[in-house]
């Protein structure tokens, strides 16, 4: 498989190197000199293009957010469930992007909050729409909070891809890994794993521990 980074602008090549390095060694742990060496340029050029190390960080964030949106759009247009070949190609290209995304989400940065917020917004809409299409039975309480928990669950798999890769023996950031793990995820989400009565009962027990609603607005169904 051909390397994608062959025929790129030098600027883009530097950025791509940074996107690979930051998640691996952290921001402070990644030196400008290391990035320059990987990209085959002088350290000065990195700063010539991005102004500063922070500037490079911002550029990486911007690019990854942009690519995430682009990937999502493309996935929808292609039709995710119908073309496993296409989604595989997308994933192949996007592995560093996903890795960077997972890293950013763990940093608690402003970008992380933005990405998480976007996902929650989208899933919230899907929850409301899903009730019409029949995919969603009924969400509990505030749909936005329901969406946030759902997104956190999903992203957990992304952030722990290294561990899941070890557990499954397949790279979790590829289509193959997704396909291998999806049945296990769906088994849980379809309610087939846990005993429904016991879980529902536990839920009620915990709901009784809720602090008094005070003057807070209460979420309605």
């Amino acid at each position: 498989m051909r390397s994608v980074t062959e025929d790129l602008t030098t600027r883009a090549r530097i950025r791509d190197v940074a996107i690979e390095r930051f998640p691996k060694d952290g921001f402070a742990g990644t030196t400008v000199r290391a990035i320059a060496k990987d990209a085959g340029v002088s350290p000065a050029l990195v700063l010539h293009h991005f102004g500063s190390k922070d500037g490079l960080h911002r550029a990486c964030d911007e690019y990854v957010v942009h690519m995430t949106i682009e990937m999502k759009r493309e996935a929808i247009e292609t039709g995710v469930h119908r073309e496993p070949g296409a989604i595989a190609a997308t994933y192949q290209l996007a592995e560093p992007i996903l890795r960077y995304l997972a890293w950013t989400l763990g940093t608690g940065s402003e970008t992380a909050a933005r990405i998480f917020g976007d996902f929650v917004g989208e899933v919230t809409a899907q929850l409301v729409e899903g009730k019409e299409h029949g995919l969603i039975n009924e969400y509990h309480g505030d749909p936005q909070k329901q969406a946030a928990v759902l997104v956190a669950m999903q992203l957990g798999g992304l952030m722990l891809h290294d561990q899941l890769t070890r557990a499954f023996g397949v790279d979790m950031l590829t289509a193959e890994g997704l396909i291998a793990s999806a049945p296990y995820t769906l088994h849980i989400l379809s309610g087939e794993l846990f005993n429904r009565e016991i879980m529902a009962q536990t839920k009620q027990t915990i709901e009784q521990l809720q602090p008094t609603p005070d003057t807070e607005q209460r979420a309605t169904r």
Copy 2:
């Protein structure tokens, strides 16, 4: 509420400062001088007690793993669901521990693999036992893989606690946050959120995309 770090050994105080700093600024981003300043000692003393910065890192890992085991044991003994006051106190003490844990899991270190592996082992046992007690209906495929996905989902909430805290308006690393979010989690796990038929059907569709089993050992139910 009294600070817990008042009447501690200097060595312990340094370690606790490091446990707070590492997740916030990363390992490379945290300087020995900053740790020393926070602990009110000289930088030289940090290295006197831990040999090197890496030694301090190892000591933090060890301590957090130890505390995690201790907390789990204590939670079981106290009876998690019966004494909200006790669990609250435990959480109060353990917030930095949980934060450090979440950070470590994202680094892909050896400690992260160990912790994740421990969790998976425990949940796997719970899955098998759960079938007898009725909590578990039936797990899909390999119980260890099922456990891994489950653990990743759970830890997703831990690793994204900052985002969930914002979404819920309550600190997710406290008992209050746990209680606030638990009903939403249980709503999903009890199969009340998604339409079961559609999810089960999607699962079957994806199972058909599975690569040929080749010579791999196949997981049995």
